[in-house]
């Protein structure tokens, strides 16, 4: 059996008295798109931060294709092939769009430089719908275009695992359609992706499987429709009948 693309084993993160992620375990097959959902404050972003190395787990183990990555510095994890976007979009204001995307190509998993990195970045910019705007200052771009730049930057490293932290949040309905079809394309080409998302339409149409977190614990896991029907998941989102 080939090892899971990503395996999270009893991951735990404690901030003082608060356990933000409490013994969470799940696996990801190669080429799978997993939705990580749950109410606000349930620990989803903390979970992503544990995978990308922004935070070190207090206990537990995370492996990427069988190699342990938990406890490594974020740049080492990026070099092993984990790329991410941020909940609040983070572009590099002093660089143009091309420079932003090249940043992903040069130091991460793909390690390109010079003309090769430039060509790769230009191809990715046109892929996310920004061709002709390579030299535009990113600060002059709209929110969705900045998000596109960020996605292109993550893809530039040719990641083995892509982490999207609410990449669709804050988009208007027509932008949302474009965003969903972009992620759908990535799924079709066989990328392994974990997406944290609140947009349920996106979860339903894109995800193979989903994992639901509430108060730091994993409360449900499985196919999207059955999981969203799970009484405990409904209770986590909407509260008990008595509360209503």
């Amino acid at each position: 059996m080939t090892p899971a693309a990503l395996s999270v084993r009893s991951a735990r993160k404690r901030f003082g008295g608060l356990v933000a992620v409490n013994d969470v375990s799940f696996d990801l097959r190669p080429g799978e798109l997993l939705g990580l959902i749950g109410p606000n404050g349930s620990g989803k972003t903390t979970m992503l931060n544990l995978i990308s190395g922004a935070l070190k787990p207090t206990a537990g183990e995370i492996t990427l294709a069988g190699e342990r990555i938990s406890g490594l510095a974020p740049h080492r994890i990026a070099q092993r092939g984990v790329a991410r976007t941020f909940q609040l979009v983070r572009v590099l204001p002093g660089l143009d769009a091309l420079g932003n995307v090249m940043a992903g190509a040069v130091f991460g998993h793909s390690r390109a430089w010079g003309g090769e990195a430039r060509d790769m970045a230009a191809a990715l910019l046109s892929r996310v719908g920004l061709s002709g705007r390579e030299h535009m200052p990113v600060t002059a771009m709209t929110y969705i275009d900045q998000k596109r730049v960020e996605l292109a930057r993550a893809l530039a490293s040719d990641p083995r695992l892509l982490l999207l932290d609410e990449w669709l949040a804050g988009l208007n309905p027509s932008e949302l359609r474009i965003g969903i079809s972009l992620i759908d394309e990535l799924r079709r080409e066989g990328r392994t992706i974990v997406m944290v998302e609140h947009v349920m339409d996106a979860i339903r149409s894109l995800c193979d499987r989903c994992v639901v977190m509430s108060s730091g614990r994993l409360i449900a896991e499985g196919g999207v429709d059955e999981t969203l029907r799970d009484p405990e998941v409904i209770r986590a989102y909407l509260g008990d009948d008595d509360d209503a």
Binding site: A73, P74, H75, A78, R90, P93, A103, G104, F107
Partner: protein
């Protein structure tokens, strides 16, 4: 590595030409102008080397005096036993080692703590040297007698400045330069695209520290007599920061724009009003920080951007 583009070739040609012209100076004057140009060249090397690190990282280092003094002492201690070029190499190596140690210890601390630490370091090194000398040698000072002339010192400083510029130019074209640009923009992103941010900063601090130590080694023969208060003079650290900020650190040649007028002014002030130099330095610091926080080159660039903006507006109106 890709070849040089048109702009880079032009800059290299201009740089070579400038070095060639500057090298002719001692032919025309051996007195006052040469003396002041030695100072200008010294601070050009120091400020540009300082900006190599402090420009992109935004970390203000006050350790210049520590590296400089280390370079001066490398020559002072070894001049009777080893050939001068070897001592310059030893100075560079000790500067790099000290910077590496300091970097490994401090680059995780940020902002104002880094400033205080580097300032404390310079004082600490000075105290250690003083202690060692009183403990193991008979006198506090060292004599440096060589047959190196003022012209030769000038040429060595010019070569050093050229080397610092060339290094800065090559770094800017390298992956290290690109990494630093990203770190300066957003360190979190830098880490998550795979940049070892601590390593990049330490490498840069070591390069910068080595160059500053070489400057100290070159200046040692000019002092003749070296003692800790002059070799590790904190004033050097402050002047380097002021001049680099006056010129601006966004461009490689930025500090140079601050060094030339400031060195001439300091020379004037210290000869006419020798008791008031500290007041002038203090006032200059305030004026620069309040009025031109991005330096003269920052002002020039902003003006250029405004003109360009006005240009496009005008074109749009006529269109």
């Amino acid at each position: 590595m890709t070849g040089f583009n048109l702009e880079e070739t032009r800059n290299l040609a201009l740089g070579t030409l400038a070095v060639g012209v500057a090298a002719l100076l001692p032919v025309f004057d051996q007195g006052f102008y040469l003396a002041i140009c030695v100072n200008i060249m010294l601070y050009a090397a120091l400020c540009t080397a300082w900006s190599l690190f402090s420009g992109p990282t935004h970390l203000v280092s006050l350790a210049t005096a520590a590296f400089y003094g280390l370079g001066t002492y490398s020559v002072g201690l070894g001049i009777d036993t080893l050939p001068y070029p070897v001592l310059v190499a030893i100075a560079a190596a000790s500067g790099a080692v000290l910077a590496g140690l300091v970097g490994a210890m401090t680059l995780r601390i940020s902002g104002v703590y880094f400033v205080i630490f580097t300032f404390g370091l310079a004082e600490f090194v000075r105290q250690v040297v003083t202690w060692l000398q009183t403990k193991f040698a008979t006198a506090i000072g060292l004599y440096v007698f060589t047959d190196i002339t003022e012209s030769q010192i000038y040429w060595m400083l010019l070569a050093l400045t050229a080397a610092v510029f060339l290094t800065g130019f090559l770094i800017a074209r390298s992956t290290l330069g690109f990494a630093l640009q990203i770190i300066g923009n957003d360190e979190t992103v830098a880490r998550h695209v795979g940049i070892d941010t601590a390593r990049a900063k330490i490498v840069l601090f070591m390069i910068s520290g080595a160059f500053i130590a070489i400057a100290g080694a070159i200046m040692a023969p000019r002092y003749s007599y070296i003692e800790p208060p002059s070799a590790f003079n904190p004033m050097i650290s402050f002047l380097v920061v002021i001049m680099a900020l006056l010129g601006g650190t966004r461009r490689l040649w930025g500090p140079l724009v601050g060094v030339i007028p400031f060195t001439i002014m300091m020379d004037f002030v210290s000869s006419r009003f020798p008791n008031h130099t500290m007041i002038v330095v203090g006032l200059a610091f305030l004026v620069i920080v309040y009025l031109i926080p991005n330096g003269v080159t920052g002002l020039i660039e902003n003006a250029r951007a405004r003109m360009k903006g006005a240009d496009t507006v005008a074109r749009e109106k006529t269109a």
